[in-house]
Symmetry: C2
Subunit: 401 residues, 2 copies
């Protein structure tokens, strides 16, 4: 068939970036495959019965829940979040400062609509989550990247990067960071760097998008204050998600920021999806209202801590420790493994044959990156599979060393 | 508070278009207000118990439904649609030709990402639904408009409009139409014009977006064939929705089109919201699988037919018929009332005071339009309220004549 519409494609479509992880889904579903690839929660820990119990709201408030909902979100859920997130936000936030979104990735979409014109620049940590950079690229953004070490974004490098870019006439709109248990690196930004980041953003009049899907899933140590709580000028937009602390199938996330920016993003949301599924929001809201979110969170944290430990034990048992480098994440979903000279693409091909799958590191560099690091997720596989999967991975690695 | 991000706004944000209907929500919710404004289904007809019954799937398949879902949609729902829509589509479509979306408005969002660069042109019927034109505007599109009469889009004018625009160097990407029970006009495109429209789109190599949220809600006469079914070259993207035939709170819609275009849009959807709420999709899917969609549709159609008749009876009882013009819609949600010289903005202010609300017509012209027509929706208010509301409206009108 001829496809006449192919001559009508947008610039974005001609350069579309799709997620290699989403493309891996078929691989992941192969029988016997152990997946360390997608950042997926363990289905064994989904609170299925409690969530089903919340479906009662579909009967009790059916006529509300089935009708068009407010674009800014289901009011009871907004009220819950305004209070519940207060501790991390540094204060009880106002409902006008919250927008419920269709997953936290929609926060990126709406912020890009609000700030990004084609050819504008976003400063990103590199490597970083390809789901969000795909949205940025698809909306025409360019990137300036900043490296990270075990203490998070190397904030000291920011002024130099910004000044150089500005001297070249580049328009920078915002800084994108995943400060807690960064994806894919697993590192967490220190308090000192957080303060410095806020200071730099203030000095150069930039917005910060603080993407924090893993923030509540901390295994060790104390929570660092959010960037939102450290900012007194209203330049931080905080993005939260129920995907990792409840269930990604709900597609419910939120953002918290200056009321006028929230209102602008809400304006864009009208034309994007009118509102997030009211059905989903009502179920999530009931789940929170009944206290299940609070009571399950320690269970989730304990469960994933044990899996992280199982994976690290696997590393110690099977990996050639003198040849790999990793930092133990204090929370979240991922280890980032650095190897001296193994091609992770070659490793990937061998691993697949041994029925274990991970994500080669260059996928996290929007412009392509080094081929010697990779990300492994410990949340999805069972503890036994984690041990066996690392064993297989080590076997594949041995063939290349 | 100073708002430093305000200096960083995108061109789209500086010119953002939001929906006047969404802004009216507070008015609509005033006690005693009779609303003919938003195109909202009657909550009294929502199948609350049947939908709740479907929640059983949250328990039975909880671990699937709560997990990340496929970007192209929940497989059982896609399979249902591939079969069920076959009659209207002219053939059983393939699941690769279907993308489940977060409401049918997301079809517009994704198609714009695929085709529209800032300054490109879309041909729209004028007046037309402002929700979709808002998305188009927010993505930087310009419009060429084509008028409608009681037989739908005046297709004969298309070649002239296209050739003139092309001679001026304008890039036209697609034609947007609501062929059935157009919003706001209520008119339906004749078969002859449908064939002509396809022929013109083929001749000028343009895509057609066939937006059909009301298509299944036909009161009188026979269904006209869809544009999709008349097209042999793969240039029509058909958008469907569960909002009017089940419940808008689900935010589940779909589109059917050439597999390669669907795949491209799916690529954009990854970065927009990963997938539509799997929870919502699973509930809708169960509802369909159990046969409720089929068994409720005649009930919905009968219910809204009676409401349409109640409204037209109200027109005959109360309105100065020699001074207003309307066409009886064969389906859908709306009447479009044309007046010779009443300012509908003035009418709106008086109507509000009498506790009845409608949408002034100029809201449906993206660049502003005449101030003498308006849209009334008959689906939301009860039959008694329809009578009383038209009486109040006539009273307000009398004050201006």
């Amino acid at each position: 068939m001829n496809e006449p519409w192919k001559d009508l494609l947008s610039i974005g479509a001609k350069n579309i970036k799709t997620s290699p992880i989403r493309e891996m889904v078929k691989l992941i579903r192969q029988p016997g495959m152990i997946s360390f690839a997608g950042g997926m929660p363990d289905p064994a820990i989904f609170p299925v019965d409690q969530f089903y119990e919340c479906a009662e709201i579909l009967r009790e408030k059916g006529t509300d829940v089935l009708q068009y909902g407010a674009t800014d979100g289901y009011a009871p859920l907004k009220e819950f979040l305004a209070g519940w997130t207060g501790t991390r936000m540094g204060r009880k936030v106002l409902t006008d400062e919250i927008l419920i979104t269709s997953g936290s990735i929609q926060v990126v979409d709406l912020l890009n609509l609000a700030l990004i014109d084609r050819e504008d620049y976003i400063i990103i940590e590199e490597p970083t989550f390809m789901g969000t950079t795909a949205n940025m690229l698809n909306q025409g953004a360019n990137f300036l990247s900043i490296s990270c070490d075990e203490n998070g974004m190397e904030v000291d490098k920011l002024p130099g990067i910004i000044e150089k870019a500005r001297s070249e006439g580049k328009k920078i709109k915002y800084i994108y960071t995943i400060p807690n248990f960064q994806n894919p690196l697993g590192c967490t930004m220190t308090l000192e760097r957080r303060k410095k980041l806020i200071e730099v953003a203030h000095r150069y009049d930039l917005v910060i998008l603080e993407d924090d899907p893993y923030g509540y899933v901390r295994f060790d140590g104390e929570h660092e204050p959010t960037l939102f709580s450290l900012d007194e000028r209203g330049i931080v937009l905080y993005a939260g998600s129920f995907s990792k602390i409840l269930a990604p199938g709900t597609r419910v996330g939120w953002c918290t920021g200056p009321a006028a920016l929230i209102k602008l993003m809400q304006g864009f949301k009208q034309g994007v999806d009118v509102s997030t599924s009211v059905v989903s929001q009502a179920l999530v809201s009931e789940y929170c209202r009944k206290g299940y979110l609070e009571s399950f969170l320690p269970k989730i944290i304990g469960h994933y801590r044990r899996k992280r430990d199982a994976m690290e034990e696997g590393f110690r048992k099977y990996l050639p420790l003198e040849k790999v480098k990793y930092v133990t994440p204090q929370g979240g979903f991922f280890y980032w493994i650095e190897t001296p000279d193994i091609s992770t693409k070659a490793l990937f091909d061998r691993a697949i044959k041994k029925k274990v799958v991970f994500v080669p590191g260059d996928a996290f560099y929007p412009g392509g990156g080094p081929d010697r690091n990779f990300r492994v997720c410990y949340t999805f596989a069972s503890s036994e599979d984690i041990d066996e999967g690392i064993r297989r991975l080590a076997e594949a690695m041995a063939e290349l060393l």
